[in-house]
């Protein structure tokens, strides 16, 4: 395809080519913009510029007259728009309510802490009324507690359950479909298994919540109906098509000569698949697991509906758990635009973006290398 023509000879052609090039490059721009705009909202947290201390000085109604509108608006937890819409009398009433609230609130020794500090977001801390240092995620309370450890652990827990369920099953199916099934059967099996990817995640979440949760509870007999196990298995079902597809591609990409040589030496089909083809395709299988991990940790609706959403630190998969994605989905709508809660949720989004970005990159690089190797040996 190498006829080069200058822009003087055919201006329209030249323009079209440039236009096509620009549009194609927009994919890069989009990835860059996603990163930029998710990080932008979270930046004050990363830079330590947010202050969530809720210590409020006592203000009397008389003093209110002297305060600047911006201060007053902040004190009353109103958005600028709401503030301008209210008349003076209403604001006065709101102020009186607020003063009552401050008076009634028990003095909390932690009220002056800036909880968006890394110390409070990552390390356990002994909050007022707690017996020992704990990891607490409690954004809507007198003292906003933003410890992200319960969410990180929740995300990892459901993801690991999902992988433990999905990887053996998809790998088994991939070996069967690519190595053992007859070509005719294969032509049916592959698209049918991939149909599973066509079930929307909200439907999978619904199924986990309504059907699977009850079935699993009666089998295992645990306490909380919704937990990491239910969410993890539903999540596993959602990533099976991904893991299966990539693993199957990797196994199929191994030259047929490998299998034929093994069979000619007298091995059974299973021995050829397990001892010859699988080791050759192992990087691809690993890539499938990595990409499945990225997909599972970023899945939202399934865990939001089926995990129970309790932000507790626990190693048991039978406990209700809360993931990062579910937290963003459940809380962003209530968070004050531009406030610390809002920014911390964007920070969780940034973490998710970076984690999935890296796992995708790793998966792609492995697949690329494997393809090269397999084609080279052909």
């Amino acid at each position: 395809m190498g006829l080069h023509r200058g822009h003087k000879a055919r201006p329209l052609e030249w323009l079209a080519e440039k236009f096509i090039f620009l549009v194609a490059s927009s994919a890069i721009l989009i990835v860059f913009l996603i990163f930029l705009f998710v990080v932008r909202e979270a930046l004050p947290i990363f830079l330590g510029k947010m202050d969530s201390s809720s210590l409020q000085e006592m203000v009397s109604v008389e003093q209110m007259e002297k305060m600047k509108p911006a201060e007053l608006q902040k004190l009353l937890d109103l958005t600028p728009k709401e503030y301008t819409e209210l008349d003076k009398e209403t604001i006065k009433i709101l102020m009186e309510v607020k003063i009552e609230e401050i008076k009634a609130a028990p003095k909390d020794k932690d009220a002056d802490k800036n909880t968006t500090d890394w110390r409070y977001m990552l390390m356990p801390y002994q909050w007022t009324n707690y017996d020992k240092p704990e990891y607490i995620w409690q954004p809507i309370s007198q003292v906003h507690k933003y410890n992200i450890m319960p969410l990180l652990i929740g995300s990892l827990k459901t993801t690991i359950v999902a992988l433990l369920f999905a990887v053996p099953v998809s790998l088994g199916a991939a070996i069967y479909v690519s190595q053992l099934a007859s070509p005719r059967l294969k032509e049916w099996l592959k698209p049918t298994i991939e149909l599973l990817a066509g079930i929307p995640s909200v439907v999978m979440g619904f199924f986990a919540l309504i059907v699977m949760a009850s079935v699993l509870k009666s089998v295992f007999g645990y306490e909380s109906r919704l937990n990491a196990l239910v969410a993890g298995i539903a999540l596993g079902l959602a990533i099976i098509p991904v893991v299966f597809s990539i693993a199957e591609d990797a196994l199929t990409s191994v030259p047929r000569a490998y299998t034929q040589a093994a069979l000619a030496l007298g091995s059974s089909r299973w021995q050829a698949a397990w001892q010859i083809v699988l080791p050759a395709a192992l990087p691809g299988v690993f890539a499938a697991v990595v990409l499945g991990f990225g997909r599972a940790i970023g899945e939202t609706m399934i865990v939001l509906m089926a995990s129970g959403n309790a932000s507790i630190v626990s190693g048991s998969i039978f406990d209700s758990t809360r993931t990062m994605t579910a937290t963003i989905a459940a809380e962003l709508a209530e968070a004050v635009f531009g406030g610390h809660h809002y920014r911390i949720l964007f920070m969780l989004g940034t973490i998710l973006f970076v984690v999935t970005f890296l796992s995708n990159l790793l998966g792609d690089v492995i697949i690329h290398k494997l393809k090269h190797k397999m084609e080279g040996k052909h």
Binding site: M1, R5, L12, E17, V23, A24, S25, A27, I28, I30, V31, L33, I34, F37, T84, P168, V169, L171, G172, A173, Y176, V177, L180, L189, I193, E194, L195, L196, G198, I199, P200, S201, V202, G205, F206, F207, I210, V211, I240, L265, G266, S267, S268, R269, W270, Q271, W274, Q275, P279, G294, G298, M305, T325, L332, G349, F353, T356, F357, L361, D364
Partner: protein, 327 residues
């Protein structure tokens, strides 16, 4: 690897070459082949259980009245609830999305197959970006939509162009939800279009060029018409994927309840997938509302699944033609 080999009757110590001398029936081979077959069966069984469960429980509730009525405030009332507003909302956002995603996706695919040198760094970066886009979590797309489309684009239109204090564009809207979904499904369209472009014999292009057509003319008059089934598949797959997505539209446009249909691009909308979420998590009495919940899920599943199957059939036909052309 050796310790894991199933050839246990050789104590696992026999040299690999010896293993292959086994002839005839081999119990472990049979056993492990059976296991992989079982894994395949398990996946198929789960798929069948999900589909049957939803179809059997949803079908009785999926009446014509249910599909064509809007129950105003009674969205949890089994006898009055309907899903028309959600079906309309989902359809509009999906149609808007295709308007954004198809041209960009098709042009990108044309660049990658017809113009780009596959070895150049820029091409590899574009491919990397497309691959990466496919793996970004859907909730992050939601955050991006909120931060970029609403918080940045929309607010700028309000502040600098309209100069209105009242937010018109700087709030969740069907336009922003569609654009967020368009960004999300871009890789689907690119990959499907690329596949169909690659399937077109090089000879067709060469013949066209030899007759004096320019490259652009060749692409528009020869290549694109041939690639139509692939573009169609990409479009259908992206619609099917987007129709069921809820996470990206949670903050960019979906509404819990709307009294009227969206009339402008800046209106919010009710959505079928989001409605499934509402019905299954916010219902005052889950046992009582179960029939409408199942019916809504079935409606959503029909929408996404039917499209998916159509795409698979179109694609299968395309691949068969491709094989006939000797690829």
């Amino acid at each position: 690897m050796d310790t894991q080999t199933p050839m246990l009757h050789f104590n696992g110590e026999a040299p690999v070459g010896k293993d292959f001398k086994t002839q005839g029936f081999n119990f472990w081979s049979f056993f492990f082949s059976g296991l992989t077959g079982l894994a395949t069966m398990l996946i198929l069984a789960m798929l069948a259980i999900i589909l049957f469960n939803i179809t059997l429980n949803g079908a009785p509730g999926l009446s014509w009245r249910f599909l064509t009525s809007s129950a105003d405030q009674d969205m949890f009332d089994v006898n009055k609830a309907g899903v028309l507003p959600m079906v309309v909302g989902t359809s509009i956002r999906v149609i808007l999305m295709t308007i954004f995603v198809i041209p960009v996706g098709v042009i990108t695919a044309i660049y990658l197959t017809e113009y780009a040198h596959s070895t150049s760094i820029w091409t590899r970066v574009i491919r990397g970006a497309v691959n990466n886009l496919a793996g970004v979590p859907s909730i992050v797309f939601g955050l991006f939509g909120l931060g970029f489309f609403i918080g940045f684009l929309g607010s700028h239109i309000d502040d600098n162009i309209l100069q209105s204090a009242e937010p018109k564009w700087g709030k969740p809207a069907i336009l922003w939800a569609s654009m967020t979904l368009a960004v999300m499904t871009l890789p689907v369209v690119i990959v499907a279009t690329e596949e169909s472009l690659k399937a077109i014999p090089q000879g067709l292009r060469e013949a066209s060029l030899a007759l004096g057509a320019t490259k652009l003319e060749t692409i528009i008059k020869i290549v694109l018409p041939q690639a139509m089934p692939g573009i169609l598949t990409g479009g259908i797959l992206s619609v099917s994927r987007a129709a069921g997505e809820v996470a990206p539209i949670l903050f960019t446009g979906a509404a819990y309840y709307m009294a009227s249909y969206p009339k402008a691009l800046t209106d919010q909308f009710m959505d079928l997938g989001y409605h499934v979420f509402i019905l299954s998590t916010q219902s005052p009495n889950i046992e009582q509302t179960r029939p409408i919940l199942y019916a809504t899920v079935l409606a959503l599943l029909i929408l996404t699944f039917a499209l998916n199957i159509v795409a698979i059939l179109v694609r299968a036909k395309m691949r068969r033609n491709m094989r006939l052309l000797g690829h």
